[in-house]
Point group: C2
Chain length 349, copies 2
């Protein structure tokens, strides 16, 4: 019990988040036939007789994932639910239930928790999800939210990360980079406010960016649209850590390469103008900015007519054989290796 505490030390930061997860999960044994899929995708999949159950979980930590000086608690509650529902939609399933656990220091008044739960309830009502349980405890410091979402889908409808095939099209919903830029705008306003507490934030030119950061929406609508269009993606993932990081996940698990075309990446006009103002490269922001909760998916070429011209979708590249590598084709028609520089919570801690 009071053993020698000297141990060899390996830094967690060294491994990175994905390295750590891989390391910690490599020895997992599966005991039940009903565990169709455990660790390694957006959701776990459990077998039932008429459908499969999807389970996913996320942890949000104050000072790591959110800053309460510009994140209103109601928005935080809403966003915490979105993060989880997005993982269920990324399996082509429908989220049905969530559990919410919070650890909170006694410095929080009850009214603050009410605000937080108001956001959680709003998300549940809007997305038709049932809050079915949780745990509430004190923390020694700050606020922490742990949410688990349970969803369902027919076995034949579930889309894994591993199903992409060479020649499939790489498609993204919505536009990219806005949530990350929204965070930059809010950080700048916070600094201005700290210097001059009487300053009034002027966010008029950044409304879309700020909304994407503070009130992201999970793409339940896209899952319905897939059904209407009779499209089933071959692989899918939600964009929480940045486009490049997510593309690499699909390629790795599908054992493929890819060509991503820089000039195809969808950007909102506010993203372009704000990148100019902040002197940032908009492609870098779109590739690496996280917290988008858009869906990235691949479809067979023959399904292209079904999505062609639909404003929800942008074809940004295609899947190749694994030995062709993972490439970004620049506007200057140069082929460069796609690397993950995604938003990495572990490096921020």
């Amino acid at each position: 019990m009071f053993d020698n505490k000297e141990q060899s030390r390996t830094s967690i930061a060294e491994l990175g988040e994905f390295g750590l997860i891989e390391y910690l999960t490599k020895n997992i044994k599966i005991h039940h036939k009903s565990t169709v899929k455990g660790v390694g995708d957006d959701c776990a999949v459990l077998e039932n007789s008429d459908h499969q159950t999807l389970v996913t979980t996320d942890l949000l930590v104050e000072g790591v994932h959110f800053d309460m000086s510009y994140m209103p608690l109601k928005h935080l509650g809403y966003k915490a639910v979105m993060v989880n529902l997005s993982d269920v939609y990324a399996m082509n399933g429908m989220a049905k239930q969530i559990t919410v656990s919070i650890a909170v220091s006694n410095r929080f008044p009850l009214e603050a928790l009410e605000e937080l739960y108001a956001g959680i309830h709003l998300a549940c009502d809007t997305y038709q999800v049932d809050l079915i349980g949780g745990d509430t405890t004190s923390s020694t410091k700050g606020l922490l939210i742990s949410i688990t979402a349970v969803g369902e889908a027919k076995a034949e409808d579930i889309v894994y990360r591993s199903g992409a095939k060479p020649n499939d099209l790489l498609v993204v919903t919505g536009d990219l980079g806005a949530a990350y830029l929204g965070l930059q705008v809010l950080e700048r306003e916070k600094q201005v406010f700290q210097v001059n507490p009487n300053s009034q934030p002027d966010l008029e030119n950044y409304t879309y960016l700020v909304e994407r950061q503070l009130k992201p929406e999970a793409r339940k609508d896209i899952i319905k649209l897939f059904k209407d269009l009779e499209v089933k993606p071959t692989a899918m993932i939600d964009i929480s850590d940045g486009l490049s990081s997510e593309i690499l996940h699909i390629c790795k698990q599908s054992k493929t390469g890819c060509n991503l075309y820089e000039d195809k990446i969808p950007l909102d006009q506010q993203v372009i103008s704000t990148c100019e103002e902040f002197n940032l490269n908009s492609t870098t922001i779109a590739l690496s900015g996280g917290e988008e909760y858009e869906l990235l998916f691949t479809i067979a070429q023959e399904d292209y007519p079904k999505i062609k011209g639909n404003p929800n979708f942008t074809v940004i590249g295609h899947i190749t054989e694994e030995n062709e590598g993972k490439n970004l084709i620049t506007r200057a028609n140069q082929k460069i290796e796609l690397t993950a520089q995604g938003w990495n919570a572990l490096n921020k801690g």
Copy 2:
């Protein structure tokens, strides 16, 4: 965003854990027929065609729920799983899967996390549970573990807290008070060690108590035994917050009273001798000591012959009409009101 932050303030500690949970969950709306039971029992219950799914979640926070100076990480991992499995068994279900999320500061070396996961894997192997997902992130301070367990049971087998009826017998598994006393012994050794780091802890007389604190076992065996004995409890709960607190939960949700007999409460000999040594009242310890993970349940009188003489079970009282109150009948045959003084994480923060 930078609004007036002045708000009315109500202290969370004032409400207590259960008051807070009740407060935060009172407006929950249920959208799906498949949500058979949401917040308010050990587990949520979800409808499937051939069985029902059980979901439960718990959050363990360093400095609130555990002290790493005497809780080896492997034991902590094992215990964190037990806490959740115990909730599934308390519904008369079988735990099948868990998700594990951890927030950890960078001061932890990888080897420490390996130890933690070694305990989690051991628990999964021993209890035949699949680890199916989770989230790993950094914390600004300390270690936090959030586990969600998923289980299943046939609809007709599930036991809620609300099914107790007047004249039912009140039964407990195992014996009580040991886990709490184990904590007291470890706290004392920690203080001795802080004064004299060369001291060697002498735990010989407290082995059972320390084991109950550091390596509790969830009572999966009892669920199997119920099947063998063809007993279905009318109500059931696991003892995580102390016997009196759990009895009051059953009475409240079943709308009944109860008589609990002090002289029937099962105590191990080490509990009795250590209470004498620490000058503690063993009944108080048994009523209020938490973290037991024994099962408290009620059965119809006619089922008594099925459990009679079984060393796993002790009949400690019976259920009465609600207007008869919740009573402790002392050894001196006095009737006093049973009050909850359970282990309350929120008051410890």
